[in-house]
């Protein structure tokens, strides 16, 4: 295990709106080690994207607001960093790719221009060297005929190719951390697999750690080593992927795993977790999942459980079921 690349401690990110303060991220702890692929899973609105934008400091302020906690990247506190320092970090040390490859490239610049621009923002490199570097990068992400693709415009490429280009741009300065915000959600299933393979290969070859934000446990199973499950602004379970799939301890994680369609079973109806994600800001005391939980107990409604580990120290969950079991044992 390498040392910690990114450490998020007790992060609180709020949205200040006219109707009050919404705690979108409410005390999140998360660690990403060097060269590791970590999945961050949860339904829409659980705070996973806000967490990633918080790390990049790209949340518009207002309405966004850092209400507490710290984000350390290689020991450096990012929340308090100067904007100038953040500009050096973005794209060079931490990069990001987005969900929608159709809209995340500038329609008026060629693919090459967009890679070269990023390179030249971060390093003193001549146009010619940068062009060669861009072509090399495109080859690295598996684009055939890179020499002619550098001269094409985004609208001439398919969604899968554009996502490859996005990855090439994000990785051209060899950052140590890549934040991927649902990078495969908008793609065809076959293309999804190709992109995941590519990310896995680049992770291995370049040693880039990846924070993979997704709502798809299939993606997590495919490429992640560890996974963090979030619900309503809090981490509810974290651990190694195989531990969590083999032995999910939080009822929410169990529900997520049960709702993956299985090919080998006759299922007339797909399982879905009853109820809905609580409206942001409507959260009261106790466990946030309690209203939807099938194992709900009295204590769940009044007191929020801690994120604790059982026998395996790397597998932690936030559920009273597990604490009472542990007490009973």
């Amino acid at each position: 295990m390498g040392s910690n690349l990114l450490e998020i401690h007790n992060l609180h990110t709020h949205f200040v709106t006219e109707r009050g303060v919404i705690p979108a991220v409410d005390g999140v702890d998360l660690i990403i080690r060097k060269g590791e692929i970590v999945g961050v899973v949860g339904e829409s609105g659980c705070g996973k994207s806000v967490t990633s934008l918080s790390v990049m400091r790209l949340l518009p302020q207002p309405p966004g607001k850092y209400a507490g906690g710290e984000i350390r990247f290689k020991g450096e506190e990012l929340i308090k960093a100067r904007e100038k320092r953040m500009k050096q970090i973005r794209g060079n040390e931490i990069s990001m790719i987005f969900q929608e490859p159709m809209t995340s490239l500038n329609p008026l610049l060629t693919i090459g221009e967009q890679i070269i621009e990023t390179l030249r923002v971060h390093m003193p490199i001549g146009k010619k060297d940068a062009t060669n570097r861009a072509i090399e990068m495109l080859k690295k992400v598996g684009i055939a005929r890179a020499e002619s693709i550098v001269r094409s415009y985004p609208h001439q490429l398919s969604g899968g190719m554009r996502q490859r280009v996005m990855i090439a741009i994000a990785l051209c300065c060899e950052p140590e951390l890549l934040i991927a915000d649902e990078p495969t959600t908008a793609l065809d299933v076959t293309i999804q697999a190709q992109i995941l393979d590519l990310m896995k290969k680049l992770n291995r070859d370049m040693g880039t750690a990846i924070m993979m934000i997704t709502h798809d446990l299939g993606v997590v199973a495919e490429i992640c080593e560890r996974v963090v499950v979030m619900y309503a602004g809090k981490v509810v379970e974290e651990g190694a992927v195989r531990d969590i799939f083999a032995n999910p301890r939080h009822p929410y994680t169990q529900g997520l795993i049960r709702s993956i369609p299985k090919m080998d079973e006759e299922q007339s109806r797909l399982y879905s977790i009853p109820g809905q994600v609580p409206k942001p800001g409507s959260i009261t005391e106790g466990c946030r999942f309690a209203p939807r939980c099938e194992h709900v107990m009295d204590i769940c409604k009044s007191k929020l459980p801690e994120l604790i580990s059982g026998a395996n120290p790397a597998h932690r969950s936030r559920c009273w079921l597990n604490t009472t079991q542990e007490v009973a044992n």
């Binding site: 987005f98 809209t103 329609p107 971060h122 398919s158 290969k201």
Partner: protein
């Protein structure tokens, strides 16, 4: 899993030559017949303006009191006005004035309006409030009335009319650009550019401004038509070009008392204004079809 990265098996789109969004737009524009007619009219008038000294048979200010209010004939193709000046020559030279006023006032409006609009849209907050209220105030006056007020303050001359028209049209472009910037700011590729560590100035100049150009060009073309009409209106009211400048609006107002006796004195300047304005409007509409609201997907 350790298979090598999957190479794209799909052949990349066939593009013999690089087709930029701009060249795609031009291809679409060429297919629009009305727009091409508009472009033809504009090119025609630009050629007339450029070749005025060779086209005009007479000096535009040369008076011949013996030949007053002559109907069109072999010598004076468009007839003569009340001072015996050759109307054809005056129209030919007037083309220069109208095009000059149209282009330069619109360029001025674009320069100032785009700057203010981008600043307001990108930085927001109180900067936006101040600039937007300024636009609201300017737009609260009817265009020509405001232009009249400005010319009255500056003194009547062609140059002051031009400045007045430019000022009147600043909020048109300012608002357009501000709205476009507001929507562009939410685009994922702008967030992506920020996530790559680019500076605000680079994002504004290299990513936001070029993506605003489409609507600016469309509005600019239509704006030239408006500016030409406004210049003619100011000329008609005696607030624009001073005699003996052959400004079309001025020619209309000077001759309106002879409209029954010598209709050609108003017919030809009127037709010229109509034709140029029509040309710019046709071309503007054609540009809108290919450039607005989105380039092409």
């Amino acid at each position: 899993m350790s298979q090598p990265a999957v190479q794209m098996s799909v052949p990349p789109p066939s593009h013999a030559e690089v087709s930029s969004p701009w060249s795609d737009a031009w291809r679409g524009f060429r297919r629009n017949r009305l727009a091409m007619i508009g472009l033809g009219i504009i090119v025609f008038f630009i050629l007339i303006a450029a070749c005025a000294p060779w086209l005009a048979p007479f000096d535009y200010k040369e008076q011949d009191l013996m030949d007053r209010l002559k109907a069109p004939n072999g010598e004076h193709w468009f007839g003569t006005d009340d001072l015996g000046r050759d109307i054809f020559s005056r129209i030919v030279y007037g083309t220069r004035i109208s095009l000059w006023v149209g282009f330069s006032s619109v360029l001025g409006s674009i320069a100032v309006g785009t700057l203010l609009g981008i600043v307001a849209g990108y930085y927001g907050k109180w900067v936006d409030t101040i600039i937007s209220r300024l636009f609201d105030i300017l737009l609260a006056f009817p265009g020509v009335l405001l232009a009249i007020a400005i010319v009255a303050a500056l003194g009547p001359s062609l140059q002051n009319a031009l400045i007045a028209i430019a000022i009147v049209n600043v909020p048109v472009f300012g608002r357009l650009v501000r709205a476009k910037v507001l929507s562009l700011r939410e685009e994922e590729y702008i967030t992506a550019a920020r996530s790559l560590g680019m500076k605000n100035s680079r994002i504004l100049l290299h990513h936001i401004l070029p993506n605003c150009l489409g609507p600016i060009i469309v509005q600019g073309t239509l704006g030239i038509a408006t500016a030409i009409i406004e210049a003619a209106a100011l000329g008609f009211l005696g607030l624009g070009a001073l005699p003996p400048e052959p400004e079309w609006g001025k020619m209309l107002s000077d001759s309106r008392q002879f409209i029954q006796k010598a209709p050609w004195t108003v017919l030809f300047p009127g037709l010229s204004i109509m034709l140029t304005v029509l040309g710019f409007n046709l071309m503007g509409d054609g540009l809108r079809d290919v450039l607005d609201p989105r380039m092409k997907s």
